[in-house]
């Protein structure tokens, strides 16, 4: 009998929905059907059963073709490449669990590598703003249960986070919000008329690239000063109306996305958004949240902060201590400036996401991809190592966009012999220790715990 597994986590977007139901075949190897998932989430579960998925590491040959090799050979190649490089870069982690990120942390330390994640090309500016100005935020349940004014700034959850508005931000009925969307005023700031903007009570169609000015205008009127008749393409009356709604709300929530943190000024746009949130707290209750992209892209920010003190761009090359300074230790800058001489792409697709010039620089040196699937990065790699799909074939802790940890189940077994990220990188570490004739350092002396492999179902 096929069996339904309930309260399954979805390894797609930063909403990290954990209410999916998945029908699994008799033998526990195939996903037959899903419920509650959005179209993209549904696709990820079915993807696992794709018969063309690689199940063995593939090494590029001199003639440009690829050849399947054993995991032992792939592990040996990776360990040697990392040890040989003067400054390797290990990047990615959009799609893996915290156990994997932790294992990579150990490898990176041994390798004297720079450890970076997708935030570097995504919500990195948010981190810079948090460094400078803090982060008055809340969990998504607070939004569901309390928020009556919700602002979407440069984000379009209707497309990027398909269930966000129904689970958390616009439609749900919560404890103090029993009338759901009827009780909420929605404000959208976006230069385009997106599907989220169409839902909004107020749409401020801002001139692209002038977010900072508009935030400054909000702050200025909140302090009772006058502003020019038009700011960032928005009329003063509209600014005053929106500011009034926020000031008079009982719980104001600001969600922002790439449209805010990747236009000119980047981190400063987020920084002044945080200042605006602080100001609003003198009038009412207000919170702010980054619309993080992937289901566990908040994860590396957490894991590496507790391990190294920094959420991304962690330069471990000095060996004595960790150093971070985005602009210098960030992946794109390192690549463009030719500062690294080995690249490991884990659980993401740097081939698709990096500027072509950056990829060209990285391709001068060993280029390794660790990912369950074929992607642009895997196809230009010297070595592609497939791993199990987290949330489908591998359990583990993930961090939702509000930094709430959620324990994701697995629903089916992975392909025979395919390792998890954690197992793979622990073995790379062990191989590096063998090659350097050093003792591995685990947290517990008497056998180390591979967290997720013993997870309760």
């Amino acid at each position: 009998m096929p069996k339904w597994i309930t309260q399954v986590g979805c390894p797609y977007c930063g909403s990290s929905c954990d209410d999916l139901e998945v029908l699994v075949s008799d033998d526990g190897k195939k996903v037959l059907e899903t419920r509650n998932a959005c179209v993209i989430g549904n696709e990820i579960f079915h993807h696992a059963s794709n018969p063309n998925r690689p199940t063995r590491p593939r090494m590029r040959q001199e003639d440009g073709t690829v050849k399947e090799i054993t995991y032992d050979e792939a592990i040996d190649y990776t360990a040697k490449a990392l040890l040989k490089a003067k400054k390797p870069l290990i990047y990615g982690f959009g799609s893996t669990n915290c156990e994997g990120m932790s294992a990579v942390g150990r490898v990176a330390e041994k390798a004297g590598a720079v450890l970076d994640n997708c935030a570097s090309i995504c919500h990195g500016p948010s981190f810079l703003a948090i460094f400078d100005n803090g982060y008055p935020s809340c969990t998504l349940g607070e939004v569901k249960n309390r928020a009556d004014v919700v602002l979407f700034w440069g984000c379009n959850p209707m497309h990027a986070h398909p269930r966000h508005t129904s689970r958390y931000s616009i439609f749900p009925r919560g404890f103090f919000t029993t009338k759901g969307n009827m009780q909420r005023t929605i404000i959208c700031v976006d230069p385009r008329e997106t599907d989220t903007a169409k839902l909004a009570d107020i749409h401020l169609m801002i001139d692209q690239g002038h977010d900072y000015e508009l935030f400054d205008a909000f702050r200025t009127v909140l302090r009772g000063h006058d502003i020019p008749d038009v700011v960032a393409g928005i009329k003063k009356e509209q600014i005053l109306e929106a500011a009034g709604k926020m000031k008079n709300g009982r719980f104001v929530m600001i969600f922002y996305g790439m449209g805010c943190c990747h236009t000119d000024g980047r981190n400063h746009n987020v920084d002044i958004a945080i200042s605006t949130t602080r100001d609003l707290n003198s009038h009412t209750k207000a919170s702010i949240m980054a619309m993080r992209g992937h289901y566990n892209i908040a994860g590396p920010g957490q894991v590496w902060s507790w391990q190294f003190g920094f959420p991304y761009c962690v330069d471990l090359s000095r060996g004595t201590h960790a150093h971070m300074n985005p602009g210098e230790t960030s992946s794109i800058d390192l690549a463009m400036r030719d500062e690294v001489d080995c690249f490991v792409n884990v659980g993401t697709d740097a081939g698709a996401h990096f500027p072509i010039e950056a990829v060209r620089h990285l391709k001068k040196h060993p280029f390794i991809t660790v990912d369950p699937n074929i992607c642009m990065a895997s196809e230009i790699s010297d070595l592609h190592i497939p791993v199990r799909i987290v949330g489908v074939e591998e359990p583990g802790v993930v961090y939702r966009m509000d930094n709430v940890p959620i324990q994701f189940k697995k629903v089916v077994d992975g392909p025979d012999g395919v390792l998890s990220d954690e197992e793979l990188f622990d073995r790379v570490y062990e191989r590096m220790c063998e090659l350097t004739e050093t003792e591995p350092i685990w947290i517990l002396n008497r056998g180390h715990a591979h967290g997720s492999s013993t997870a309760e179902q």
């Binding site: 490089a85 003067k86 400054k87 390798a111 004297g112 810079l128 460094f131 400078d132 002038h210 900072y212 000015e213 935030f215 400054d216 205008a217 909000f218 702050r219 200025t220 909140l222 302090r223 000063h225 006058d226 502003i227 020019p228 700011v231 000119d264 000024g265 400063h268 920084d271 002044i272 200042s275 100001d279 090359s317 000095r318 060996g319 971070m324 300074n325 985005p326 602009g327 210098e328 400036r337 030719d338 500062e339 690294v340 001489d341």
Partner: protein
């Protein structure tokens, strides 16, 4: 002053981290000892002498030591960081962190510098004849204590984030700047002799900014209060005097709020 000359003779494969190139590190050593100083290329430890020919002899103290780098330092980071006295001259470009956390002495770069020049500087003088990238005289990530003293002069253009979280000292950009000047500043003075695109003085609490060219986009939080005659860095002119950022908090003194000042040359 006693002169030490470093002549670069080999290009590093990656970048060299040379925190040791400073009068403080050189003082009292022989040329041979200076050659032995450790610098880093990624995780490898190398000698200064592996990349530079060292000649001359430093003084007994940093103050008496003059360093001349006779060649390009485009791949050399951290020149003169934390130096307290003496001088460094570079014939050519230099990479990141020139004069970072500097407390005293002088640095002169005849070419361009990369980002983070004069980051969290406390004193001394930096002069760059060419252009600077981003974060001139800025604070380190997360620190609310940015540049506290000293002078940075960039004779060319500069990028974004000039004087972020600045508390004191002077930054002069002789040509144009991109965006974000004195963001979050609580003191100090920034002079832009050319044009700025915008975001001048955002979230600024205290301090002064002079713009001798044009600001393309003025922030709504700045309000014009007067037109004044001023002399700044050898230029006397009429300036429109703005106060701001009115959206930011401001300290009070004798019952009045203290604002940051922005002087833009009247056309």
């Amino acid at each position: 002053m006693a002169l030490v000359t470093l002549k670069p003779y080999k290009e590093p494969e990656l970048y060299l981290e040379c925190n040791n190139i400073s009068p403080d590190a050189f003082a009292g050593k022989t040329a041979a000892e200076i050659s032995e100083l450790e610098v880093r290329e990624g995780k490898t430890r190398v000698r200064l002498g592996d990349y530079f020919e060292v000649s001359g002899k430093p003084g007994d103290t940093a103050e008496q030591t003059e360093i001349h780098i006779a060649g390009d330092c485009s791949r050399i980071k951290y020149l003169g960081t934390k130096m307290t006295a003496g001088s460094i001259k570079v014939d050519g470009n230099a990479d990141m962190y020139v004069g970072g956390w500097m407390k005293g002495g002088k640095i002169h770069v005849t070419g361009n510098v990369h980002s983070f020049c004069g980051i969290a500087m406390e004193g001394g003088e930096i002069t760059v004849d060419g252009n600077a990238e981003n974060y001139v005289g800025s604070a380190y990530r997360g620190d609310w204590r940015g540049m506290r003293g000293g002078t940075i002069r960039i004779r060319g253009n500069a990028g974004n984030d000039i004087g972020t979280f600045m508390l004191g000292g002077t930054i002069i950009i002789e040509k144009n700047a991109f965006i974000h000047v004195s963001t979050h500043a609580e003191g100090g003075c920034v002079v832009i002799k050319g044009d700025v695109e915008g975001r001048v003085g955002g979230q600024m609490v205290k301090g002064d900014i002079y713009v001798l060219g044009k600001i393309q986009y003025m922030l709504p939080g700045f309000k014009k209060i007067a037109t004044v005659e001023k002399e700044i860095d050898g230029v006397s002119a009429r300036f429109n005097h703005y106060i701001g950022d009115l959206g930011e908090r401001h300290p009070r003194s004798k019952g009045k709020e203290i604002y940051a000042n922005l002087f833009v040359m009247a056309s």
